[in-house]
Symmetry: C2
Subunit: 333 residues, 2 copies
DNA sequence: GATATAAATGTAAGCGCTTACATTTTATGT
DNA sequence: ACATAAAATGTAAGCGCTTACATTTATATC
């Protein structure tokens, strides 16, 4: 591979001049620029980005840590992020944390040791303290889907409380009074928030929250199925089921059908996240929209603005969930 | 950040020695190794991977190009790949090609200019010639889901012909004789192959292939819906529909239901790929399994073996599809 | 046209590592 | 104890760029 040195020789200029035409282009005569450019194309020169990084102390790479690379939730998020960055010549290095404290920490270390200029973190298991300490370090980062008051300006979140509220409110408005709830793991903030939104709506409608109708799942499909079975077999009746995410709702639907329950006639269900397959389940699942792609985009913009000093669209940190109505809920008489 | 130089000073050894303990560890006394190690931890030293790359001419990064970051197909593939690599201290740089020739080429250029040691390519639009030329270059790559005879040993593929054959054979065995087919875009090799598998099965059962019952889609959900509508409105009857992937099958199912067709009683459907949501659609979709995660894994192993000289499990290039039977198909009398 | 000023270009010192080669230390055999 | 080979360590030259600073060249001012 040709180096800058050969280009400079062929063009009859110095290294610095070649470097200048590669970069900001400031203070170079058109004529020398042309000489250099044609030398470059003649040699098929392409800058060595590693050497650039070392010399400039900027790797032009941003680290992206998600819980899983697969699954309906992260794909759109990554898509939005990659798109924004590649246009800017930045590249994204991905890692998966698998919702495990140790693996998340390792992944962050890994990304930092890779000289990422900035990090986009969707972490779940790592502690607030860890992140606060990390924020003192020299690698800037944004947090997706996590709120830490000390780091507020770098948290891009969904208003989960409001989302939980919207779901329950809609169910209540449809006349349901006996409502079961399958939550996420309650050590996770978003699971808590969605549940408190639920309680808030209940309170507003003067309905008591019934602990017996709560099942704590883990956001995975199976726990939805298990949760439903357990609730179904308890003495408590319910005509509507709220699930803290779509995966669990799907599991619950399968389980309900196995119990001989007709959907949606005998049981109304609502999920959360609006992952793309909710349209395909039967009956099509009502849910709460989580604009994860937009939020990924915003995270990318945050980095562009805070790390690379690019001017971007205005940064927004709190996103609003929206109710998506499909056929999985019926009016209760 | 501490550099190797400070470590060497604190440990009272030379740069080279520090470098040695970081690397192969060969020819270093235990005692000096310990001195160096403790100096490292004392300083919180972490090697600068950019400098390492420049000096060693190896970036420890591999580029991964997929068509989309989202969608049910690529997630599992990326997951398998990332997993394999991070264990080995390699990182993966991702890019999306969006099935567009120009964007795919750009992405490849980008990845190469990023000094990736190797590439895993899932490309669709780029020509064979381009790839053959690329193979003459210095960056090694594997191809996922694409076969080019000149590059056979670096193609990791599914036997799509056999997959198409299996699907059709099963439908035929269920007694169906009037079978519609929604294909992928026929400029894509996999779409062609699946269709020829279909024809092969037909022939084996002495059924003529009816051009009128073929619709060429684009592997996306909408085209499945459109395809179904068109086939439904044509004068030709059919009791079974084979779709070249699950997305189109899903679209066709929605469309069939809108046309008032009861599934699976009035129409049997089979898809292809076995993406995870096929279990959730209604009725659960029979399909052909595409072991994309394993194939991603294998691609990673290929790189490990061919680029990094690691010994890995034996490399396999052709994977076998399997029939997955669910409830979307009934026997035809 | 001489001088001051600005613009364009060149020079050379790093960025933080690896590694060929040189040198020193240690082990081995007699 | 000494020569010799082997092992451990040190020296220094890069890897391909960027950039502060120095120098040269063009432009403006009177």
């Amino acid at each position: 591979m040709a180096t800058i040195y050969e280009v400079s020789k062929l063009a009859g200029v110095s290294l610095a001049t070649v470097s200048r035409v590669m970069n900001n282009n400031v203070n170079v005569t058109d004529i020398t620029r042309k000489k250099v450019m044609s030398a470059m194309t003649e040699l098929g020169y392409r800058p060595n980005s590693i050497a650039q990084s070392l010399a400039s102390n900027c790797s032009n790479s941003v680290g992206l840590l998600v819980s899983e690379l697969s699954g309906p939730f992260y794909g759109p998020m990554m898509g939005g992020i990659e798109n924004t960055f590649r246009d800017q010549g930045k590249h994204v290095i991905i890692a998966a944390g698998h919702s495990d404290k140790k693996r998340e920490e390792q992944a962050i270390e890994f990304l930092i040791s890779r000289n990422c200029d900035g990090l986009i973190l969707h972490v779940e298991a790592v502690t607030d303290e860890y992140l606060i300490k990390l924020s003192k370090g020299k690698t800037p980062f944004v947090l997706l889907n996590r709120y830490i008051s000390e780091l507020a300006e770098r948290c891009i979140i969904l208003d989960n409380v409001h989302g939980g509220y919207l779901a329950t409110k809609y169910i209540l408005e449809q006349g349901h009074t006996d409502i079961a709830y399958i939550s996420g793991p309650l050590w996770k903030k978003d699971a808590q928030d969605r549940l408190s939104g639920h309680k808030k709506a209940l309170q507003e409608f003067n309905h008591a929250f019934d602990e017996q109708l709560l099942y704590e799942g883990d956001f995975m499909e199976n726990s939805g199925a298990q949760g439903y079975t357990q609730l179904h077999n308890s003495p408590h009746q319910f005509t509507a089921l709220i699930c803290a995410n779509d995966e669990m709702a799907t599991g619950a639907m399968a389980s309900a059908r196995e119990c001989g329950v007709t959907l949606p006639n005998e049981l109304s269900i609502i999920g959360f996240d609006n992952v793309f397959f909710t349209r395909h389940v039967y009956p099509p699942l009502s849910t709460i929209n989580y604009p994860i792609d937009e939020m990924g985009n915003m995270a990318a913009n945050w980095i562009l603005s805070n790390v690379y000093q690019k001017t971007t669209a205005e940064l927004q940190t709190v996103f609003k969930p929206e109710l998506i109505i499909r056929q999985s809920i019926i009016k209760h008489q």
